[in-house]
Structure formats: C-alpha cells, structure tokens
Symmetry: C2
Subunit: 397 residues, 2 copies
C-alpha cells in the first residue's frame, strides 16, 4: 500500500482524489500495489466523502513517514511554496499543477528535490491532461529544441472562437465564458495573458535549460483585441489566436513572449477551437510535433498529477532530473525577433507604403489594414511611429 497526501481540496485536489479512486484498478495494476490518499490538508474542515482524511496541520503530513508523495493543489506561491519546500526537505516526492509556483520557483525546488533524492514533477502545470512536459524533456531529448509555441489558455481561446464564429465582441464573449464556467469571476490572469505567460516560461525553462523569469517576458492578452481585426484577418485566411512563444535565436540566445497572432489557416493550430489547447514543439530532428487536447478541467489535470505520482514511485530519481539551470543568461528581448506584422491604421495605403515600403493590403475602408514584410518588432514600432495605429499584431510564419 502506497500512501499519498493532497494539499488543498479545491477543484484539482478533489479531482486527484476522485481519479485515484475511480481508476484505482488501472493504477494498482501498473504500480504493483494499491495507492491510497491517506491525508488531505484543508484550511477549513467540511463534510463530504473525504471528511475523515482531513487535517488542518501540515505537520501531520510532514512528519508521517508512511506518506511518500505529496500532491500540492493549493496554488499561488505562499503556503504552496512553503509546504513544497518542507515536503521535499522531509524526503517526500512532490507533484503539482501549480504553474505560478513552477514558473517562479521551479528551478530552486528542482534543486532541492535533487539534493534530497526525491522528485518534483509538474506535468499538469502546462496543458492540463495533455502530455507535454515529459514528451518535451524525455521523448524529444535528442533534439535541439528550436521553438515551442501554443494555445495554452482555454478561456481566451473560447472567447476568440466566439468572436470569430459568431461575430461576438470581446466583452460579450467574456460574459458568455463566465456564464458557462470557463472564465473566473476575475478573469484578469487569463485575458491579460498572465496564465499563458507562466506556462510559456515553464516551456522555455525546459526547452532551453535556462531560467526564464516571468518578469522579463512581455505578456499581452486579448483585452485590447477588436472584432474588426479578427474579421479582417479571417477574410484574409488567418485566425487570430493568443500564443505563448519561446524561441531559440540564431545568435544562441532565446526569447519568450505572449501576444495575439495572425495564424495562417493551413497551420493546424489555427483550427484549435473552444477550450482546447495545442502546443507545437519544433525539434531540429523531429520537425514540428503538436500536442492537442482539453487543456483544463478537474479530471484531466488531476489525471496528469496522478500519473506524476506513479512516475515518482516507479522510476526513482533520475541520473540528471532536469537541466533547468538557475542561470538567466541568454534571454533576449523579443523585440529583436523578425516576422511579418499586421497593422490597421487610421490612414491611407500611401501612408502605409511610405512607412513600410512593400505591404500587402487586407482592407481599405476609411482605415487601412495591411501586412508588412518580415521585420523585427523594434523596426515595426519605429517605422509606424508617425502612423495613427489602431491595431498591430505579429503574423506566425
């Protein structure tokens, strides 16, 4: 009998307990012995099926030698950070879906885990139930990873899908997402791109092996996005999607950022709709590989946590757990990155041509919408400084 503890009993915590119960047969078959939730840390006791497992004292978990794995589902960096450190220090494996904690403190916690010969795993922190971090770090380990990008937030993708399909405004689509339970009452972390940004940092950390500080990563969400641009893009064969991108640069450095992009409709990512997520990993040997599925939800996320628990128990410490170093060298401003740019200006085509030279016109209707040739973000800003810019976005090649 293998005993585990869960910290927190919100959506994910409850999901972990449920998955371990419902799929107990599969899990026992693979582990060779049954897995049991022994203790659940809560702030306030409440009635329910897990009442007899609850404690409000973390020491009951920390000091229990029977508990081998702790699943942290508290979220944030306060208590979650504290308890994770204490659990690792006590020689217990820790598994989490907490993207904020991993993005901000993952490197330090991995270091501590290594030192204590235990594991700190967080597959569920990116893409919910979609396997992405293990495939990136293990299955594609013999590649140089040149780029990782994707639709990493279901809420914003749902909103964008409604805008494209139904011509709904951002505000109305957000209200709809909230009514359906896809968006929080305070949707800031989602719509401002912060959630996508944290996940992008984790992907960048693992892809490039260097710490990418969320503070350094420009994050632009979809709050400023106008239906006008979504429609112009659509007619021209592009879909507007919020992407997190992490790229290796030709000079050897790397960059990361979050922003809405125009994606050509031939790219499979442009067809990712509603609350689905998709992550593309570009390896120098594999080419583009895409991982696709529902990126959120209690059960998918919980099943990824449960699989990480099994991984801790089956494989033991790896020779080199991770090559995520604490150094932050090599991070460059994404403004240096070149791509085609979309602009909508309150101005004429001739003003656009004067500023950018060659452009591809998408719409002329009082305002002018156009695509530039491939230029750096810095040049896009510099060349457009005398124009009356209503909207601008990068185009994914």
């Amino acid at each position: 009998m293998i005993q585990v503890a869960i910290l927190g009993l919100g959506t994910v915590g409850t999901g972990v307990a449920r998955v371990m119960e419902e799929n107990a047969k599969q899990i026992e078959h693979k582990l060779g012995e049954p897995l049991r939730v022994k203790t659940i840390l809560v702030r306030h006791f409440k009635d329910g099926p897990y009442r007899r497992l609850m404690t409000d004292d973390f020491r009951q978990i920390e000091e229990d030698p029977e508990i081998r794995v702790v699943v942290e589902t508290i979220g944030g960096v306060g208590a979650a950070y504290e308890y994770t450190k204490r659990a690792l220090a006590a020689g217990k494996h820790v598994v989490t879906a907490n993207k904020q904690l991993v993005a901000e403190r993952g490197c330090e916690l991995l270091e501590l885990a290594r030192e204590k010969q235990v594991r700190y795993l967080f597959e569920a922190s990116v893409g919910g139930g979609i396997p992405i971090l293990h495939p990136l770090t293990q299955c594609m380990a013999a590649n140089r990873i040149d780029e990782v990008y994707g639709i990493l937030n279901g809420t914003t993708n749902y909103i964008l899908t409604r805008m494209v399909r139904m011509g709904t405004s951002f505000e109305d689509a957000l209200a709809e997402a909230q009514a359906k339970g896809y968006a929080e009452a305070d949707p800031t972390a989602d719509v401002a791109g912060i959630d996508t940004g944290r996940k992008t940092c984790i992907l960048a950390d693992l892809a490039f092996g260097q710490q990418v500080d969320p503070e350094e990563v420009p994050m632009e969400g979809i709050t400023g996005l106008s239906l006008t641009d979504v429609k112009i893009a659509h007619r021209a064969g592009y879909r507007v999607k919020l992407l997190g991108r992490a790229l290796r640069l030709p000079g050897g450095g790397h960059t990361a950022y979050v922003a809405p992009h125009l994606i050509p409709e031939e790219n499979p990512v442009s067809n990712v709709e509603d609350v689905f997520n998709a992550v593309v990993v570009r390896g120098n040997a594999t080419g583009d590989v895409m991982f696709y599925g529902k990126g959120a939800g209690a059960l998918p996320t919980a099943s990824a946590c449960a699989a990480d628990v099994m991984e801790c128990l089956q494989a033991g410490p790896r020779q080199q757990e991770s090559t995520w170093s604490s150094g932050t060298a090599g991070f460059e401003d994404p403004m240096e990155l070149s791509s085609r740019h979309y602009f909508r200006i309150a101005g004429t085509l001739s003003e656009a041509v004067t500023a950018f030279g060659n452009v591809e016109v998408l719409a002329e209707n009082g305002e002018t919408a156009f695509l530039t040739d491939s230029i750096s973000g810095r040049d896009a800003l510099r060349l457009s400084k005398d124009l009356n810019v209503r909207a601008s976005m990068r185009v994914l090649a």
Copy 2:
C-alpha cells in the same frame, strides 16, 4: 563516455549515428557525459564516415562489456529477433524502431529485458519522431484507456490526400508517392494496411495490457478504394482516411482493426494531410488527446531512438516496466463493433431503405450512396447481403 552499438546501417541506422553526432552537445548536457557510437554491425562493409566502426560479427558487440545500449535498426523478425535476444541476454539495453518485431515478439522481449534488469524501448516504432508510446503508458497512466486510433502510415495518407485534393486515382497517386520517395518499390505493406496494423497492435498491447496478435487483427488497406467514394464523402463533409483503431468494448474485452473510414470534417484528424501522422488517445479522465507530426523519415525516427537510448541510461529499470502480459484473452472480433456505415450500391434508394430502414442519402446517380444508422459490422454485412454493394466503409463517430 557511454558507448553504444547500432545494428544495421540503412536509413534509420544512419540517422541514429547522425543525430547522435549532430546533437552531441544537447545529449551530453542531459546525460552528464558524452555518448559515442562504438560499433556498427553491417552485412557488407562499405566506405563512408562510419567505415572504421563497422563489424560483420555480432559477437564483437555481444561480448564488448563497454557497450551498454544496442540500437537495432535491421528490421523484420529474423536476425533482428536473434540479435535482440542475445543483446538483452548479455545485459545490454536494446532500443528499436522495428514495428514488426515489437508487434510479433514485443511481449517476450520485454519479459527477457525485465529478467535481465535492462530495458527494451521502442518509442520510434509508432509515429516515428512523434512521442506517443511514452505519453500513452506513462503520462496517461492514471487513465483507463478506452480507445486509441489514428493515421499511422504516411504513405497511404499522402495517397489519400492526393485523391481528395487533386482528384487523382489511387494508381496515379501511388505512382506519384513512389516518384517522391514516399512509397517503397513494393508498397504492399503500406497500402494493404499491414504497417498500420502492426502499429495498431503495439498501441493496443500497451493500452489494454494484453497481447494482441497481428494475425487476429483484420487489416484492410486502401487498394480497393475508389475515387468515387472519396468524392461523395468529401461533398457530404467527410474525409476518407485509413485508420488503425484499438477499442475497449463495453463488455470488458477489446478489439482492433485497420480500415478506411469516413471522418467528419470537424474532427481534427480529418485535416491531417500528406505524410503527417496523428494518434488520438481517449482516456476516461483526459478525454481525447491528439499527437501530431511527421510519422516517418530518418531523422525524426532516429531522434526517437536516441531519446530511448538516453532514457535507458538515465532512469534505469522501472519497478514495473510494462503491464503488457502475454495473455491474449479478451480480444473480440471488430464485427461486433457498432458505428454508422457508408454504402454505395448499384441499386435504388428504395432498395437501400428496404435493407436498412432509415438511411441518409449522400448521392443518387444510377447508383445510390448512403449512410446507415449505427449498426454492428456483422449487421451491416447481413443486411446488405441482397444488395449489389460497390463500396462500404465505417464512419468514425
């Protein structure tokens, strides 16, 4: 310095040597020490960059205590089977892309590896460079896997894409695929569905934990496919794709088969074109998760082999390597499986209605093309026995 050997120096073998050379920096960084190809087994010596590593005597590898991992790229079940057994018996890890050997002898070889405390890994045998077996067995380990299906053969998918897009006949599209090097001179294993069938067996073995014998799995390829049906399906909002499917049945058993299907255009798999592969795994917690990329090619396949080599060296033997048992219990005939069926008959709508009751007409033009309600394969056969059937296929729900 970690020493490995490669058996065979064809496309994949050469690719493995190249990937280990080109990505040596990444690999060394992750392993903590350099990886070197020490010996390559060939049948005939030939000049080239690897000339000094060649041997034609397997004992030079078998008896070399420095060689820790053997990469088998011979293919087939003859020498490959023999050498794999001897390498495992000699206490060396073995990694392969050989789907025929894994489908036919995988269970026995895993058993031997377990006994010798080494690993037998074959991520590259399904989907080339796309991570699929590790995600299925590890990242989704806390799920009950209810279905795995996918486009598993790039050659046939290229042919089907040409037929849909350009209205090319099967014969012309095959000739084109051969001219481009996508199809072998003898394309039987591809177009008859045998390659897809072997990969489907491996997916079924791992998903359900029971040996699925390739001999028992009905495999229908695309040789009999008519452009007429591809066009009728396309106009009705379906794409015709060759699918391998492995399903858990409601009664607790499981089944597997290979056949062309009509796929609704809303399903992302319907948009998988050219030589791309896609595999969908349906877990009871995660829902549908899709893995997508180029399923073949020397470098992608080689990079998956190289990652498996790294996995052997990093993680050591797992507590329970695999739950693929040698029992074949639970396999049922896919004829029991229900789905909608597509038929084209030389006959009238009223004949179709007489045979099937309710039908959805797709085309009437001398012949009649229609979809039935959901019925078992057995009923589809029985109810159509008095009709003049020109074509029939299952519809993916």
